[in-house]
Each structure stands twice: as C-alpha cells, then as structure tokens.
Subunit: 204 residues, 2 copies
C-alpha cells in the first residue's frame, strides 16, 4: 500500500522535526492502528530518538490529538471559506462537495487516521474534536437550510441530509487509492452532481 503523504499537510506546524513526527505517526497509525504503534516506532520512522520525540510531543496521544484536531480545523476552515463566498446555495454546495471530496481522496491516508482513530482520544481531547465536527455539520446544515429557504433545495430532514453529504465525502478516504480510475478533482465534481440531486436541486 502506498503511503505517500502530501508535503504540505501541516504548513503551520513548526519546526520541521514536529511535522516529520506527525507524518511518521500518520503512516504508522494508518498501517497498524493507534494502539499497536509505539512512540519508538514513530521516532525511528522519523529518523529520531524517542527522547527527541518527547521534545515536541509529550505522548503518542498528543500526536494523535494534533493530527486529528489539525485535520478537523483545516476542514472547518475550508467549509466556512466556501460557505462565506458570494453565490447561490447551489454554487456554494457544488464547490463545498468538490473540495471536501477532493481533500478526502488526495489525503486519504491522513483522512483515515483523522476519521477512524478518533475513538482512541481521551475524553477531553475527544470533546474538542467532537465540537469541531459539530461545527462542520452545522455549517453544512446551514447551507442546506439556506437553499431550502430560497427554493433551491427540498429535503425531508436537513440534519440527516447534511450527514449524508459529509458521509459521501468521508467514505472516499476509505476506498480511494492512487490506483483509482478518477482524479480527486474529477471525483469531487461528479460527487457534487450526485449531492445536488440528493438535495432535490434541479440545477445539475
């Protein structure tokens, strides 16, 4: 399984050694899971000693938290950015699904860790990430509600529809690989059409 991680995953994390540790942690969590990974595995993969790891992260949990919180914050910022643009609810939903799906395809290795290792976080850290998830869901639900109000969308249950929209994108991380027939961008475009139909829009 190819585990190539995009170089620009955590542009804001400094110094470079911390980014290297996060990449090594993602690869190991994705390969064998959080519980079967040791801090020694991560340090070794990053070409560092366990002691050097602790300079940057106090624990394995701290690494998972940083990866998980970072991924959710990036997603929330992207969702808010798209929703805040000018344009009809249809145009913004199309852009939102396009970018969300593209992110989950392109960054499927890190996305798998972000989405599927959440339950390994301790309660307090989990609560922070869960709050970010709720804000993402609420933002998508808000855009659907806007479209319902102006007649672009018709849905029986706005909350459920928001969840379905996000589900389609998140599940891309499970099945997408570099061997997929479609590029992340093309996939995002086609999923946007499917989502607009699902929301009862006639503009697709």
């Amino acid at each position: 399984m190819s585990m190539s991680l995009p170089a620009d995953l955590w542009p804001e994390v400094r110094p470079e050694a911390a980014r290297r540790l996060m990449s090594a942690a993602v690869e190991s969590f994705a390969a064998v899971g959080f519980h079967a990974t040791t801090t020694r595995d991560i340090a070794t993969a990053a070409g560092m000693s366990p002691a050097a790891l602790y300079v940057h992260f106090p624990s394995k949990v701290a690494l998972l938290y940083e990866i998980s919180r970072g991924g959710h914050e990036q997603t929330l910022a992207m969702v808010q950015d798209v929703i805040g643009q000018a344009g009809s609810p249809v145009d913004r939903m199309r852009a939102l699904v396009g970018r969300f799906v593209e992110w989950h395809a392109k960054r499927h290795v890190v996305a798998r860790v972000v989405q599927y290792e959440l339950r390994s976080l301790p309660e307090e850290e989990y609560a922070v990430v869960a709050a970010l998830r709720r804000r993402i869901e609420q933002a998508v639900q808000g855009l659907i509600a806007e479209g319902v109000r102006d007649g672009s969308f018709t849905v029986p249950d706005e909350k459920l529809a928001a969840r379905a929209v996000l589900s389609l994108g998140i599940d891309v991380a499970r099945w997408y690989s570099e061997r997929a027939r479609k590029t992340p961008k093309a996939l995002g475009r086609e999923y946007a059409t499917l989502v607009l139909r699902m929301l009862g829009s006639s503009a697709h």
Copy 2:
C-alpha cells in the same frame, strides 16, 4: 461506548464457543484495533483459555478472516436476495438501501470491523474478501443499469453511482450509535429516498 452485539450475528457458526470467540474478537478489534489485540485477550473475554481458542481458530488472523468473510457473504446474499425479487428497479433499490443501511446501523460494531480492519488481512484472505466486495458492487451496479435501461434512473457513471450508494450505507457504521435520533429502520427508509433522488429517479 456500548458494545452490545446482536445475538443472531452468526447463526450458522457452530459450536456456540466459536460464536463466543468471534463476538469477543469483534469487541476487541473494534475497541483497540486488530494489531493491538492478542489471542489471549480474546480467549479471556470469551471466558476460555488460549489453548481452547486454538481448537476453533488457528490464529487471530483466522478469526478476523471469518468475521470479515462472514459479514461480506451475508451482505452479498442480502443484496442478491433483494435484487432477485419481482418489482421495478425503483422498488428493489428502495428495499436494497433500506436493508443495507439498517444492517450497518444495527450492527455498527461488527460492521466497523468488517469495513475498516480489512487491510489487516494477509494477501490471500484479502483477495477472497475483495472478490466478495466486487460482487456486491457489481450487483448494485447491475440494478442501476437495469433502471437506466428502463428509464427509471439517469446517472452519468453507473460504477461511480453504485459506489456512492454503498458509501452512504457503509459510512453509517462509522457514525451510528445507540444514541442516534433515528432507528436503523427509519434511517434506512430516509436514505433510500436520498439514493433514489441521487439516481435521478422521479419516484420519491
């Protein structure tokens, strides 16, 4: 996290001790992942000695394989059953999504293991399960193609549409919990409506 497993998960597995080991394995794989689980953990949770485990399963991999293959075989049988019924493509798709989503909600703990621990299988065992997955996808794609031919559905890409239909159902296992607002059955019904829209059907 509640880990209550439905009692009728593996009605065909005999003797009862083997079923008990499979349930214990599912709970542990779901909680800490395949790699962090030992055969001792599984045996202890099932109230047995490690030696007694080996009477039924030669290894931890054999348990995961049995769980994974069993889950996929059940799903394939269900999909083939629904598709083989009389009725229009729309009716059969509605029934299919209803049952698929209901299964993933009701059995979300085992479904998570079936869906997300696949990569831990050795190559040969993985190939068997991957072949079952392809048959499931092809069956759904076949039903979509039938609907396209008789004018019930319009989709730009039948293969992609089949994947999206299955994605919506599979991702239910990730987020569903006993605290969810909707029953598995109600969720299945509402997702069926969303899927019919996605497939360009006017009958919803």
